[in-house]
């Protein structure tokens, strides 16, 4: 069967991505002059933080998926493996943007992190060995830098076989081993960043007095399920454009399973964090939920948003994606993928904004505009990366396993 190996960006797609990026840049400029230079620059920077970190983690989840499946000797993901790789390319521009934003947060200091001024605050002074400018900048640089470098290495390994077929099974074994080694290095670094230290720095330190041991896992689950949704969206898009002939509903089914399972995993972490704090009922812990959830005679300003987010991220996936048929249906899966990404974007919104502005919800067009800009950037970067390499890694030892995959 002749297959279309190289992706060509459709004109409308390019227009859309450029338009969305334009909306984003416009929103950032307007937002900067509207909020960033005013009395409360935190309003501007909080939105920048939310969007840059969220979309960075979502695209980076693609590389995590690639490495995790490589380590697990998975073969089924290979028919759309190049899509995953292309999504991880977006980590480079998003990482640079996020890095600039994060550095501004500690150097320009728009009152996002109050741990920057620990003097006179016993708790913050005690945490200052960890929460300080130097460590923050170093760790941020290392985090984003190593994601980019290790991601690049993984993509290079995948490209290696394109023009140089592996001669014999022994060469194939060596190739797989080399892949697992680099994937393992990425996973270890991923564990030290997304799954532990980095969300403490970037997000949890907004509430510097408060802490939760679940927080990083929660962040990971949130972005991983969105990342799987993003992969699904691109796979369905390419299928609709007539590419990825080898990827079929069996692969979509497994992607749907990931979306389903990790939505429940996210809920599990959400609940574990919530229930322990609710049960212990210690004021310095429950303060986190004061603006977010309802108590007996108090309902915070973010309550509605919070439960809306919960319904989108838990009830909708569990009820809609439970059936086998709905995970194999391109329309349902696309709808759910968009819904899940939006839901977790809202989740990030409440994680950041409910801590900074506990008195009122400030969600408006500015936030959506910035989000649109990041969406456009991802669309542009991923499509660009897709044109750079054949869509099927035809010499990979496991490619046949992926083609005949069925569930």
């Amino acid at each position: 069967m002749a297959i279309k190996e190289v992706f060509a960006i459709p004109a409308r797609y390019r227009t859309w991505s450029l338009a969305l990026m334009g909306v984003g840049i416009l929103s950032v400029i307007i937002g900067f002059f509207l909020y960033g230079t005013g009395e409360h620059p935190a309003r501007f920077w909080a939105t920048m933080l939310q969007n840059s970190v969220f979309f960075l983690l979502v695209t980076n989840a693609a590389m995590f998926f690639l490495c995790a499946t490589t380590l697990a000797m998975g073969g089924w993901q290979l028919t759309f493996g190049r899509v995953t790789e292309a999504i991880s390319v977006a980590v480079i521009p998003l990482g640079i943007i996020a890095f600039i934003v994060l550095i501004c947060l500690v150097t320009v200091d728009p009152h996002i992190y109050h741990w920057l001024h620990p003097h006179g605050d016993k708790i913050l002074e005690g945490k200052s060995a960890f929460l300080n400018k130097g460590f923050y900048i170093t760790w941020t640089l290392l985090t984003i830098g190593l994601w980019i470098v290790l991601g690049y290495k993984m993509r290079q390994l995948s490209r290696e076989t394109d023009n140089a077929p592996l001669g014999d099974p022994e060469a194939g074994r060596r190739y797989i081993f080399k892949n697992t080694v680099w994937a393992a290095i990425f996973i270890v670094w991923f564990a030290l960043t997304v799954m532990s230290v980095t969300p403490w720095f970037w997000l949890m330190s907004i509430d510097a007095h408060w802490y939760s041991t679940m927080y990083s896992w929660y962040t990971f689950a949130s972005t991983f399920v969105s990342g799987m949704s993003l992969i699904t969206l691109f796979v369905v898009f390419l299928k609709n454009q007539g590419y990825l002939e080898y990827a079929n509903e069996e692969h979509i089914h497994d992607l749907g399973k990931f979306m389903f399972a990790f939505s429940i995993f996210w809920t599990y972490l959400w609940f574990a964090q919530y229930m322990l704090i609710w049960y212990a009922n210690i004021p310095e812990e429950t303060v986190y939920f004061k603006s977010r959830v309802t108590s007996k005679n108090h309902s915070g300003p973010y309550t509605g948003l919070y439960w809306l987010m919960f319904c989108i991220n838990f009830l909708a996936p569990i009820l809609i994606l439970m059936r086998r048929g709905s995970k194999r249906n391109y329309t349902t899966v696309t709808f759910m993928a968009i819904l899940i990404i939006f839901g977790h974007w809202l989740d990030f919104y409440q994680m950041i904004h409910a801590s900074l502005f506990p008195d009122h919800v400030t969600l408006n067009l500015f936030d959506f505009g910035v989000a649109a800009g990041f969406v456009g950037l991802i669309m542009y970067a991923v499509a660009n990366a897709l044109t750079k390499a054949p869509l099927v890694p035809k010499n990979h030892p496991f490619i046949k396993e992926s083609i005949i995959h069925h569930t």
Partner: protein, 198 residues
């Protein structure tokens, strides 16, 4: 249940099975079932079996578990025996979620196991006819039901032509029964009925 007449064909590999199933269905013979030592991917589709409704049953059991446990705990802790636990409200929903979850899973899986046993006609003390004992070991056994319109020698030679290494005709009870295997019934088919070997 009824005793019916079957033609039983044994295959050595799963390979020719797909082709055989396709041809049997095309020829219009009534395919009773295929017995294999291990699950074979895609065979259900080839045989034209509909999707199992086991998961629907599991969902219903799960809903039953959730609602019954939640309503039971609500009744106990708000109406029957309200206790002040750490100043929490009597209707302490978050604390009940783990129990509700566990009970949901318990209902769902135990219910599904029982349903599965029922659908497969498996239960303690219940007997079911074996068409070929080696279907649990290394043979792939295809069973075709004989109707008034099919001729047993014709079906036998048809199966042999498809690559069956061993073909025989059996009169068998289709359902399950409580009790024992008939003393007269030999589990190994040699001698009980005619055997056509390839």
């Amino acid at each position: 249940m009824a005793v019916k007449k079957f033609v039983v064909g044994c295959f050595d590999d799963e390979g020719p099975l797909f082709d055989a199933v396709k041809k049997v269905r095309k020829s219009g013979y009534k395919l009773h079932d295929v017995y294999t030592p291990f699950p074979i991917h895609g065979l259900d589709k080839a045989m034209g079996l509909r999707d199992t409704s086991l998961h629907t049953a599991g969902f219903l059991y799960a809903i039953f578990g959730t609602t019954s446990m939640l309503s039971f705990m609500t009744w106990v802790f708000t109406a029957d025996f309200p206790l002040n636990v750490g100043g929490k409200p009597h209707f302490a929903l978050p604390a009940w979620i783990p129990i509700t979850f566990e009970f949901t899973v318990l209902c769902s899986c135990v219910g599904m196991v029982i349903t599965f046993m029922y659908l497969c006609q498996l239960a303690p003390f219940v007997k079911k006819h074996h068409f070929h004992l080696r279907a649990t070991d290394d043979k792939f056994v295809m069973v075709i039901e004989l109707t008034s319109k099919t001729n047993e020698s014709e079906v036998s030679s048809f199966l042999t032509g498809l690559g069956a290494t061993e073909v025989n005709v059996q009169n068998a009870e289709t359902g399950w029964w409580l009790g024992r295997y008939d003393k007269e019934q030999k589990l190994f088919v040699e001698g009980q009925s005619e055997t056509v070997s390839a």
